[in-house]
Amino acid sequence: MPMNTFFNLRVLGIVLSSFLFCFCVRAQTSVATQAAIDSQSGEIQQGKSLLQSKCAQCHTDSIWRDQRQDARAWEATLYRMMGRGAVWSGSDIHAMASYLATDFGPQSPRVFTPQ
């Protein structure tokens, strides 16, 4: 086998291996990312559902829909409800804050309805 041919085959092998490696790593990363997204999405959905069931005991959405803030600030808002009788766990609050920061985060669009 000519030296050139051998070299070319080696290069091809390396390229193919690298490609396969990258493909596998990327595939694994995608799976992990997707799982994280799914998990986050699940938490957001759970937060939305909790918000609808728990906050609606006392409020309509007019009490929060004009607020825009990040998850930490939403958590602080929700913790303030505990002293007013809300019976919530830390994970409930985290989930609700995740949802609120998604739909009512600092960058979420505002809709004004002049009366």
């Binding site: 005991q57 929060w64 829909r65 004009d66 913790y79 505990m82 002293g83 019976v87 830390g90 505002r110």
Partner: protein
């Protein structure tokens, strides 16, 4: 032996009969004679006290002012809260030689009335608040409104500046039909038609105010009647004001008991009539018999021990549907709650069977459908209801109640555990402080039997574990006319000098009535006042936005009536002006130190105020909120 003593003292048995019966119980003759001689000495003391008691009815001659003072003493009044009133000169003259009546000068009629009402609420004894004519009355009316809403038996008096023979000329400080101004806010309002009617009018006012359901009353008369000499009867309170206590209908009691034992998940709502009737223990007993969860709607007092395993918490938005648990209740029983409706929905849904026990018959059946009305004194009603339920208890019902109690306890233990998580708020250590941190620090600091007077509208009360039986007590501003907190605290401390009194007040509320700080300093009433100072009307701000969501206010950030800063007010300086030591704090550590200093001051009999800088939280707040662009200087046209 106790029965024998009772029989001897009531003269049911003779001396010999007493000795014979004592011997029959195995007591020696010498010991029995010893008991007898001590009983005779005790009876002698009682007799001498009885003979020195004032006559039930006496005839008195003097000025109208002196008659007024005599009748107030006969009504059991010890303190008079008033603001300087020149037309009451003959009344003041009468006070000079009647040291039993203590006049407390209040520098503003509003907080003065709040102080009187606070004294009544904490002592459950009569007092009076008085003002200078119609002009002073107008200042006091806000707190009379509170007394009316809270059903506090506050007796109010102010003279008519106009003289009886020159009335109706639109004279100085004169308004037509002055007494009618108070009519919608009182149970009784009357103008005495002559000096000889002053004492009787006073009796009517006290009787009306102190007849359940309690409420304020108002009396007035032309100022010349106070100066006139007259002759009148003075009657002791015990013989014109019977403090009637009504027992609920026995048939209705039986019907209520049957509904209670048949219910799968009954729930009890408690209210202020329990506190007033000193019937907390009875409410606890009924709840425990049936393993019944207990809640409360907005009231003045906490009427059930909050650490009790059957306490499921206050209803957050004032309706049963807002409580977290239980949701599947099939019967509700109200014990003495005023059940104030603010929304469209009834507090107790029509689908739930409802037993309503209270003396406040006028508010029964207004909004909620009622299956069994129990009109009466709640202490007597609870006695009867407990007895009727006991009659119906059997092994099955007891077992069901026990199972229910376990279920309720499981929830309340979990809820209490979760509430402790309030400290996990990511802003817990912030400066300026969040309001919950202030409340929590005060709850850690307060004495086990402290009285918390609460007039901080947008602040949640938590972590105190109120217990009206020997524990911490709450005095909440139920009425809603602001400016009551500081005055109420001063009155409460006057009535309960041995208990720590802490006034929690928002900056907005504080500014409506700080004047009683001066009374605290002058009378050595060591109240600790804590102002949650966020330089804003935070409660109205939030509710305003909720009423017009996503509107122009939110879009522009132009909130007309929310921001109280620029310049920021310093409540510590205001307190200093009234003679009260004070400081401003900005972070949790400073607050802890300030509370320790406040405690040291109060132990020396001095009031103390802490102005806590609190963060504004909620929609639309910035560090420099917008204010309406009105400035006087640019309007000025004249050159200096």
């Amino acid at each position: 032996m106790r029965d024998l003593v009772g029989q001897y003292l009531s003269k049911s048995i003779s001396r010999r009969g007493f000795l014979d019966n004592m011997k029959a119980t195995g007591i020696t003759v010498a010991a029995a004679q010893g008991v007898l001689s001590s009983l005779n000495a005790s009876a002698q003391v009682t007799k001498s006290v009885e003979s020195s008691a004032p006559p039930v009815v006496k005839t008195f001659q003097g000025t109208g002012g002196a008659c007024f003072a005599e009748q107030l003493m006969a009504c059991g009044v010890k303190y008079i809260f008033g603001n300087s009133a020149s037309e009451d000169a003959q009344f003041y003259e009468a006070l000079v030689d009647r040291p039993q009546l203590n006049y407390i000068l209040t520098p503003h009629e509003g907080p003065g009335a709040a102080m009187a009402a606070g004294y009544i609420k904490a002592s459950q004894t009569p007092t009076i608040v008085m003002q200078a004519g119609a002009v002073g009355l107008m200042n006091a009316m806000g707190q009379v409104f509170n007394a009316y809403k809270e059903q506090t038996p506050l007796v109010v008096y102010s003279y008519r500046t106009d003289q009886s023979k020159r009335a109706g000329r639109d004279g100085f400080e004169e308004i037509a039909n002055q007494e009618q101004v108070l009519q919608p806010l009182t149970k009784y309002t009357w103008m005495a038609r002559g000096s000889s009617m002053i004492a009787e009018t006073t009796r009517h006012a006290f009787k009306s105010a102190w007849t359940p359901p309690f409420g304020p009353s108002y009396m007035t008369w032309h100022s010349d009647y106070t100066q006139e000499r007259t002759r009148t009867e003075i009657i002791q309170q015990s013989h014109f004001d019977t403090r009637m206590r009504v027992r609920p209908n026995p048939t209705e009691i039986e019907a209520a008991a049957k509904l209670l034992v048949d219910a799968k998940m009954p729930i009890m709502i408690v209210g202020d009539e329990i506190y007033k009737a000193r019937a907390v223990g009875k409410a606890v007993k009924l709840a425990e018999m049936l393993g019944m969860p207990v809640t409360q709607m907005r009231q003045i007092w906490a009427n059930f021990p909050e650490a009790h395993p059957l306490w499921v918490g206050n209803a957050p938005s004032g309706t049963l549907s807002s409580i977290t648990w239980p949701k599947q209740y099939d019967l509700a029983i109200n014990i003495g709650n005023k059940m104030q409706h603010n929304g469209l929905a009834p507090i107790v849904p029509h689908s739930v069977k409802f037993i309503d026990m209270r003396i406040d018959y006028q508010n029964m059946g207004k909004v909620m459908t009622t299956d069994v009305p129990l009109v009466g004194d709640v202490a007597l009603g609870l006695d009867d209801l407990i007895a009727a339920v006991e009659q119906l208890l059997n092994d099955r019902i007891r077992a069901e109640a026990a199972m229910r109690a376990i279920e309720v306890r499981k929830y309340t233990e979990q809820a209490r555990l979760l509430l402790k998580g309030i400290v996990n708020n990511p802003e817990w250590n912030n400066s300026p402080l969040i309001a919950d941190r202030v409340t929590w620090e005060v709850a850690q600091f307060a004495d086990p039997d402290a009285i918390i007077v609460h007039e901080a509208g947008s602040v949640a009360m938590h972590s105190f574990d109120f217990n009206p039986v020997g524990g911490r007590e709450l005095f909440f501003y139920y009425g809603g006319h602001l400016g009551s907190g500081v005055g109420t605290s001063a009155g409460v401390k006057l009535a309960r000098p041995d208990q720590q009194v802490i006034c929690l007040v928002g900056d907005g509320s504080f500014l409506f009535g700080p004047h009683a700080l001066w009374n605290m300093a002058r009378l050595e009433l060591p109240v600790i006042t804590i102002v949650y100072n966020n330089h804003a009307y935070a409660g109205p701000h939030t509710r305003t936005i909720a009423n017009v969501p996503s509107g122009r206010m939110v879009e522009t950030g132009h909130y007309m009536g929310s921001y109280l800063g620029n310049p920021d007010m310093n409540m510590a300086s205001i307190a200093n002006g009234f003679g009260v030591q004070a400081e401003v704090v900005r972070d949790p550590l400073q607050l802890k130190k300030a509370l320790a200093k406040a405690k040291a001051q109060t132990l020396e009999g001095k009031p103390y105020l802490i102005d806590v800088q609190v963060a504004r939280r909620g929609i639309g707040w910035t560090d420099t909120p917008w204010i309406p662009p009105v400035k006087g200087r640019p309007m000025k046209q004249k050159k200096a």
